[in-house]
């Protein structure tokens, strides 16, 4: 079935992929088949890169690579992983959501050798990728390039200049340096800009619902205030937590300047807000800009991506990493490792990122200089600052770190961080009452 799908889709992708994948079979030799389930890319051309790379690799190594691309709408990919873990059968390689590596660690093949070699070549992986893919000191998954995304601020520079007096292109030019005003790019500046744009009728489109865009940017906000909801063992650290109260207070003030229905926004609502021209800023990968380029070019050519603002504890960047893991019950573990190593190499990562119009973020900081990020436009340089660069002085972040993965994945799926803000800003509770709810909710998840 999987092969059939591949060839069906292969037709769409164009002749190259299909010959690469099927030509060896013509010789009639028994070739091992490696089954992979990858994240179905949100950028329409995104799957093409993996198809091309796996085709190349398969031909060179005489392995059939069968690819399934599984969507995350309705958490389909996560459900697939759960079903396969339960039945101990399925694909050889599977993409796992940020927190799922820890949840399935016992059933995943260690990949220390692969990661060891990649790290020797390219330097250390970024700390969130390492934190999520490592379990009890060992690598259980290879941080993926395809699908991994940052969520920096995607701005309408004209609106921000007109209404908030911020020249974001000057602050964060398409060069490796900070411009004037970059040092002041803090959450307080952000709040003033949000208020100004709200008054001007182009409010910031920051989702506050239960989808990853919302959870991720709020996670980065919490991190930049040093606010943690649990410790490493999962015990709530809510009582007497000054940072948490500080960030809650900030978020509630910010929420007043957002559209009144952000509480129900999904991952696409913020994109639509930007594309429709109703919003001056969203936190998003360049996909929103790319769609605007197609449907509303007059919006796209006024877009500019800049880092997230910084808080009292520094600048944190919302980061959603995918991991490629190998099931321990799979039969093609050696081949799977070789493929993942191949996909992790710089040349492969660059193909992936370029094919996705710059959307994909490799896990190694040394790879933040791909040409695509400076070349894409209009306006040229609009996504120059999309990958994390040294002069941003920022740290990637994942919501609910450093909680243990089983608990964190539940908090992440149930979006406890946006809900606690919503209880105050939308539900009218006091901050104390909402934090009390949060503590009970976390304790409830830990029980039973």
């Amino acid at each position: 079935m999987a092969d059939a799908t591949l060839s069906r889709r292969g037709v769409l992708a164009g002749g190259a992929a299909i010959t690469a994948l099927q030509a060896p079979a013509v010789f009639g030799q028994a070739m091992p088949t490696l089954r992979c389930a990858f994240w179905d890319h949100w950028v329409p051309t995104g799957n093409g890169a993996l198809r091309q790379l796996c085709g190349q690799w398969g031909e060179r190594n005489r392995v059939n690579v069968s690819l399934d691309f599984i969507n995350t709408t309705g958490n389909q990919l996560q459900l697939t992983a759960a079903a396969q873990a339960q039945s101990r059968s399925g694909h050889d390689i599977i993409s796992l959501a940020p927190w799922d590596v820890g949840s399935y660690a016992d059933q995943l093949e260690p990949v220390d050798d692969v990661m060891g070699r990649l790290i020797v070549k390219y330097g250390p992986a970024n700390q969130v990728a390492e934190f999520l893919a490592k379990h009890r000191g060992g690598w259980r998954a290879v941080p993926a390039t395809s699908g991994t995304q940052n969520k920096p601020a995607l701005c309408r520079f004209d609106l921000l200049e007109q209404h908030a007096g911020l020249d974001v292109r000057a602050m964060w030019p398409a060069e490796d340096r900070r411009g004037p005003g970059a040092d002041n790019w803090t959450w307080d500046t952000f709040l003033r800009a949000a208020e100004a744009c709200h008054r001007a009728g182009v409010p910031f489109g920051l989702p506050m619902g239960q989808f990853t865009d919302a959870v991720d940017w709020v996670g980065a906000l919490f991190a930049s205030y040093g606010a943690r909801v649990t410790d490493e063992r999962g015990a709530p650290t809510i009582r007497g937590n000054g940072e948490l109260r500080q960030v809650m207070d900030y978020a509630v003030r910010l929420a007043r300047f957002l559209p009144n229905d952000v509480w129900a926004w999904d991952d696409a609502s913020n994109n639509r807000a930007l594309i429709s021209g109703r919003s001056a800023l969203v936190f998003n990968p360049p996909s929103a800009w790319a769609v605007a380029k197609r449907d509303a070019p007059q919006v796209a050519e006024r877009c500019w991506t800049i880092p997230m603002p910084s808080g009292p504890r520094g600048r944190f960047l919302a980061y959603l990493p995918w991991n490629s893991a190998i099931w321990a019950f799979g039969r093609q573990k050696t081949a799977a490792k070789q493929l993942l190593e191949f996909l992790g190499e710089r040349e492969s990562a660059e193909v992936t990122t370029t094919t996705s119009n710059g959307y994909d973020i490799p896990p190694f900081a040394t790879m933040s200089d791909f040409r695509v990020w400076s070349a894409e436009g209009p306006p040229v340089g609009t996504i120059y600052n999309y990958p994390l660069k040294a002069h941003h002085q920022a740290t990637p972040s994942i919501a609910f770190a450093p909680a243990p993965p089983e608990l964190a994945s539940q908090m992440y799926i149930q979006a406890l961080n946006t809900k606690v803000i919503a209880r105050v800003a939308q539900g009218g509770e006091t901050i104390e009452a909402a934090l009390g709810w949060l503590e009970r909710e976390i304790n409830n998840m830990r029980r039973g």
Binding site: Q78, N260, W263, R272, Q414, W437
Partner: protein, 309 residues
């Protein structure tokens, strides 16, 4: 119910052939109902029992924890909200569906018979489209940046409504879609019932000088009492257990304030990987369903008796 007197004749006729016939009959009958028994036993009764067993396990399904999952749930504000929302959603939606359905059936009944088919055909369309798909259309109409409903409201100078963003509006939106989908069904049921009310009763009422309201109150409603109660009870069950509309429209948000039992069970059991607690959530539907089932059965028995009499 199974026809009461159907088998009277063979039983009355005595004799060897008939006895053999009867023996063979029960074998044949058993074989004929065997697949049905397999479906009911294997795919309904067994899973239901299995759900009860599952609900007594811990998250990793490694230990028996008794009623702990139920206790945890009742202890949880979000879940108490789910109970309240499910009841509110089901009751409001069913009442509205019944009222609108009744009204439309009445209106259809009033127009000349030859036009009825066409109108009935148009009005039944929402019921025919799979709800998961039509809800997509509604979702698009509610979409905050592009809402075509808000555009219509703007024509009448009404400010934009945050359809899915504000908890009460989100609940209203879910109810609107459910009513839109279900009201035509009530209409069809009531129309059939209205047509079965003998015309003489109305003529008699007219002779007595009854007003329209009195005709409704003393002729129509009593005649339709049974069908009304059965449709309402049936609809209560289905509405109570609804999943697709909430799933597509709000996914339970904002702040879990539109979750109903089914969507919450899905979120807890399947998405967050806590199968036992998810099973416990859906088992909460059971007592209410049992009560409704009791009343429905009673109603159907009465109806069968009335028809038989």
């Amino acid at each position: 119910m199974a026809d009461g007197g159907a088998m009277a004749a063979p039983r009355a006729a005595a004799g060897g052939t008939m006895q053999r016939m009867a023996r063979r009959k029960s074998t044949v009958a058993f074989l004929l109902t065997l697949p049905l028994l397999a479906v009911i036993g294997g795919l309904v009764a067994w899973p239901a029992a299995y759900a009860m067993y599952l609900s007594t396990l811990n998250r990793r399904m490694t230990a028996f924890i008794g009623l702990e999952n139920f206790a945890i749930l009742l202890d949880n504000e979000t879940f108490r909200g789910v109970i309240w929302q499910s009841c509110f959603f089901a009751i409001t939606a069913v009442v509205l569906k019944a009222l609108i359905g009744f009204w439309l059936a009445h209106m259809l009944h009033h127009i000349p018979t030859k036009g009825q088919r066409l109108w009935r055909g148009m009005l039944l369309v929402p019921w025919v489209i799979p709800p998961a798909l039509s809800t997509l259309g509604w979702w698009w109409m509610f979409e905050p940046s592009y809402s075509s409903l808000n555009w219509l409201l703007a024509v009448f100078a009404v400010p934009a409504v945050p359809w899915l963003g504000e908890p009460w509006w989100a609940r209203v939106s879910v109810i609107i879609v459910n009513v839109w989908y279900g009201a035509p069904f009530f209409m069809i049921m009531y129309l059939a019932a209205l047509k079965s009310v003998p015309e003489q009763l109305y003529e008699a009422a007219d002779i007595d000088g009854a007003t329209g309201w009195q005709r409704l109150r003393y002729v129509t409603l009593p005649m339709m009492r049974n069908i009304i109660s059965i449709t309402v009870l049936f609809s209560l069950i289905v509405t109570f257990a609804n999943y697709d509309i909430v799933r597509v429209l709000t996914n339970g948000g904002p702040r879990d304030l539109t979750h109903v039992f089914a969507s919450y069970a899905f979120q807890v059991g399947v998405l967050s990987g806590n199968i036992p607690r998810g099973a416990a959530v859906s088992l909460f539907m059971f007592p209410l369903l049992a009560v409704i089932a009791y009343f429905v059965l009673r109603g159907i028995n009465e109806r069968t008796k009335e028809i038989g009499a």
